[in-house]
Symmetry: C2
Subunit: 336 residues, 2 copies
Amino acid sequence: MPGRRKSPAAAAIDERRFHDWLSRTLPAGRTGLLPLGDDAAAIRPPPGTVAVLSIDSLVEGTHFRRNSPPERIGAAAAAVSLSDLAAKGAEPTALLLAIVVPVGTPQAWAEAVARGAERMAEQFGMALVGGDTKPGPVRTVVSSVVGWARARALAPRSGARPGDLLATTGTVGRGGAAAARLLRTQRPDRAALVEMLDIRPRVREGLALARYAHAMLDTSDGVAEATRLLSQASHVRAEVDWDRLPLAPALRLGSLSLSERRRRAFYGGDYELLLALPPQRLRAAERVVEGIGGMLTVIGRVQRGHGAWLVMRGGRARPMPASGWQPFARTTRRRT
Amino acid sequence: MPGRRKSPAAAAIDERRFHDWLSRTLPAGRTGLLPLGDDAAAIRPPPGTVAVLSIDSLVEGTHFRRNSPPERIGAAAAAVSLSDLAAKGAEPTALLLAIVVPVGTPQAWAEAVARGAERMAEQFGMALVGGDTKPGPVRTVVSSVVGWARARALAPRSGARPGDLLATTGTVGRGGAAAARLLRTQRPDRAALVEMLDIRPRVREGLALARYAHAMLDTSDGVAEATRLLSQASHVRAEVDWDRLPLAPALRLGSLSLSERRRRAFYGGDYELLLALPPQRLRAAERVVEGIGGMLTVIGRVQRGHGAWLVMRGGRARPMPASGWQPFARTTRRRT
């Protein structure tokens, strides 16, 4: 198939031409047992592993704008799915993309999305092995991923036990700070459009931490929401100490009030990992994360009981504030 | 998680409530190693198999209408992906759904989509193991599937060899006949809306035939397009005899002219399997397909050369007509 037809990137998209471009351009042969563009992709599982699967969507108007840089849209689409694999300690392997674009969209747009996704993917050893392009009125990019993990290392959300510590990778509130900036402007500039798509999946941390965690999940809707989900799935009380949260630099500005800081800390998706682990494994977990240049901070604890709680200075516990991220609410915009 | 919150199906959709409904309702535990609703799903590969992966999208306005029955949309979403697995002789296992709906859509709509997909899936031993719901202006349903196959049974599109026979399962033109009916009306009735989503993936046929085929693919864009793709990928000449095509009953009406019959035969997606196989394997392939109540018809042959050709009565070969299905063309509607 390669090389037979020119690919005028400025021309309107055509499914066949786009697939020809994909086959020529992307190094799917690395992983795939079938040529890119066949009915399906095929990959060989490493011995002793289970397949870990996830799917996510980014939609124009909700997660990106018409003029958001397409490479960044593709990178973000791959990143949100990589973050799900990270949360289960899976080795990323294969990415499939479904791209919906209006008739007449330049092929260059879809090519840039695919290239951005492929670049993000390959940073973590994952290859784009398949895709689908369909006409539709609204640009939409759906990523579906497959990774491999040891079954016994999978840390379900439901695995937290009383006595566990709660810890997070990275910082808290990077997503919320970006969302706050975006909400302040009607016409976001390129920097704001890029920032809302800037997701750094903690794949290496997830691979390193899975074996130490009883439960792990990503903070794709913020640390407050992740704590709530963990407490609900594990039927435990989860407490987070406000003073221990490793706030993102943008939230440490002296000009921000405590309540504003708190609002932003919990507002947006950080795509860090929240985990529950037994205290005796903490040192080892810290060591492996430091070994890969990451950060791990204990932020709270798991107890008998139920609900997610925020413990303020002085020890007063209050119900964890809801995420600012209200999916399907009419009044907020989701970052991703 | 289950049982804590009521699920008023008439209420507007909410991501969390929808996921709670999924966890309560769907029997993902059958296949999954993680509870439904975790960051990712996990499934165990059967020994000695490779993972076969595909993704497909159905978009409102392109593949279905606002008032198409949602169970049928879900069933069709699962079916188009099942058809891809069928084409690679893979045993279907896991389905992930990404559903995009406008804010305010009744939850019942998404529930019906998921239920329709699950029912179609379970006919073929596949379970819905994960999902994603996002707000967006246009209803979109993306299905991503995983199946398992023996690596040596995978029949790539590129595997056809001179001397092979070309054969198809089922009939030719069912999709084109449905599309023709749809194009005749401005306001399709329920029967027409259902018919355009009525896809019967040939999973059992694919599993039975994969080991006999040098090349196999589905006729999701019609038999003409599939023949063209096979000849292109395999660098061979593919000839189809018009008189041997097992036309769908709707195309055998005496009132249709030959040219109209031909137009409809090649217009739409049939979701049958087209395969290239050596003549000495034909009897065995016919037997296994008959054994499962299916149909296999030899329709042509593979030769040295290139291009897809339609051989009319008397032996005159003409270039295979293009599919009526022009993805991204402004003037045609795609059926799916």
